[in-house]
Structure formats: structure tokens, C-alpha cells
Symmetry: C2
Subunit: 127 residues, 2 copies
DNA sequence: CAGTATCCTTTACGATACTG
DNA sequence: CAGTATCGTAAAGGATACTG
């Protein structure tokens, strides 16, 4: 069995599984990793590629991923300055873990939507 | 390449990959799925097993997972009443996607911690 | 036992303006 | 171009009290 539980609060902070799993929670971290699959990208490219992320949020999340060692940030002082982000070996390794999950998500999407609609209908019927 | 980006906001809501990936973001959803790996568990068992989750938050997340079809909720009217939660086929299928990620997390934890410490040292040095 | 109901705090996210 | 700085909102989570 996996050590997912904690006996107390002090233990929670260094609970191994949780601390690393939390790297891919949040709305954007997986998306960014996936966006860097094929090649290094510059800040503006990433923003365009993802589409609906704001500058400040993209910056925050890139910092976090860089801090944890999933990507590198390289500055080419211009002018104009160009900053590019690239997956590290660790990041690429995470990407490989994520890909099956993404394809699975894609496949199961309709089923989840069915379940949701049914659940919501049942809830509505109970009112 | 994976369709992770969106061209506009309207498209974002039915962007397949994101909508299902978001099922496993958040602090607790993966944890709950993992906690149900071995056998169905009752509400109190889950709470004890996870350790540091409050009743209300556990309830919310169980509802969400049930809504999306990952688990079932079965009531045995007592008294005393006993409610047990069990992974569905879909939930078990998700669990299998999650397990490699969890083991990977466990293995890579030290490396991530090293990166973090180094990054934080560099940041401190820059002040 | 398995919740609901409140209320509160924290975190993530978003919009906008400004800068070297 | 790639940010930073502010400010505001929304969602998640947490603490506590109460209930059939």
C-alpha cells in the first residue's frame, strides 16, 4: 500500500508522494510541461500556444517549474532580449509520465461527461 | 502534438484534455483515488487513512469524484448507518494511470528537493 | 457514523498598467 | 520581448458547531 496518509500535521510537509504530486496540481503546470514537449519555447510562444493564460500567471508557474528542476530558463540578451524555456531531463521524464494520463483523459472524456450529466439529473430529480 | 491550447475563451470550456485533467488537480482527488486502491472504504476509514483532511472537504471531493463516475457511494441504512465508497471501473482505470506517476514522484523526490534548495540559494544570493 | 451548515483564511487565478 | 507591480475575484481548503 502506498504511504498517502499522514499521522499528524508536521509529517504532512515532508510526505513524499504528496509533495511531488503537488507539482502537477494547479490549472497550468501540466499544460506548460506538455507545451514544451517538442522544442524549447520563448515566453511569448508559450503564451500564444497556451492561449488563455495571463502573463503574470505564466511567469509564476514557470518560476515554480524552474525551481523544482523541470525546466531551464535561458536568457539571450539581445537586443531584443529573448528568453527561452526548455525541459530538463527531469522535466522530460515527468512529461513521459504525464502523456499516458493525457491520452487516457482524451479517451475517457465522453464517459466522464455522461456520468456528470446523469449525476446532475439525479440530483435535480431529488429536489 | 497535443491540443492543449485554446484559441479563445469559449473554446476553453470544452477543451477535452483540460476538462478531464482537471479532475485530478486539486490537493485531494488523487489521494482519495489512491486510498481506495485495495478495497472499498467507509467515510470514517477514508478520513483516518488520509489523516489530515477535514470532514467537509472530504465530503466535497467524494461528491466530485462520484459525479464524474470514478467511485460509487453505497448506503447501508443501519442503524448505525454505514456508507462505503468504491472505485468504479473508470476509477480503477484512472488509478492505473496514476500509479506510475506516484512511484515516479517517490523516486524523484530527492532530486526535486535538491533543485529547490539550489534555486532558493541562488535567489537568496541575488538579494 | 456520516454527514450539513457556517464562517473564515489562503491560494490560485485574472485584469490591467507599467518598464528596461 | 519578457517581464514586474498592483489590485481584485474566485475557488479551495480549514475550523468548528450541530444533526438524523
Amino acid at each position: 500500500m502506498l504511504p498517502i496518509g499522514v499521522a499528524n500535521k508536521a509529517e504532512a510537509s515532508n510526505c513524499s508522494i504528496r509533495s511531488v504530486l503537488s507539482n502537477v496540481t494547479g490549472k497550468w503546470r501540466m499544460i506548460i510541461i506538455l507545451a514544451l514537449e517538442d522544442e524549447p519555447k520563448r515566453f511569448g510562444d508559450l503564451k500564444r500556444c497556451i492561449g488563455d493564460i495571463t502573463q503574470s500567471v505564466l511567469t509564476e508557474n514557470l518560476r515554480g517549474l524552474q525551481r523544482d528542476g523541470y525546466l531551464t530558463r535561458t536568457v539571450d540578451p539581445g537586443p531584443p532580449v529573448a528568453v527561452s524555456y526548455e525541459l530538463t531531463t527531469l522535466g522530460r521524464s515527468l512529461l513521459e509520465m504525464l502523456k499516458p494520463l493525457v491520452f487516457w483523459s482524451h479517451e475517457q472524456m465522453d464517459e466522464v461527461r455522461q456520468f456528470r450529466m446523469q449525476f446532475d439529473r439525479e440530483q435535480a430529480g431529488r429536489q
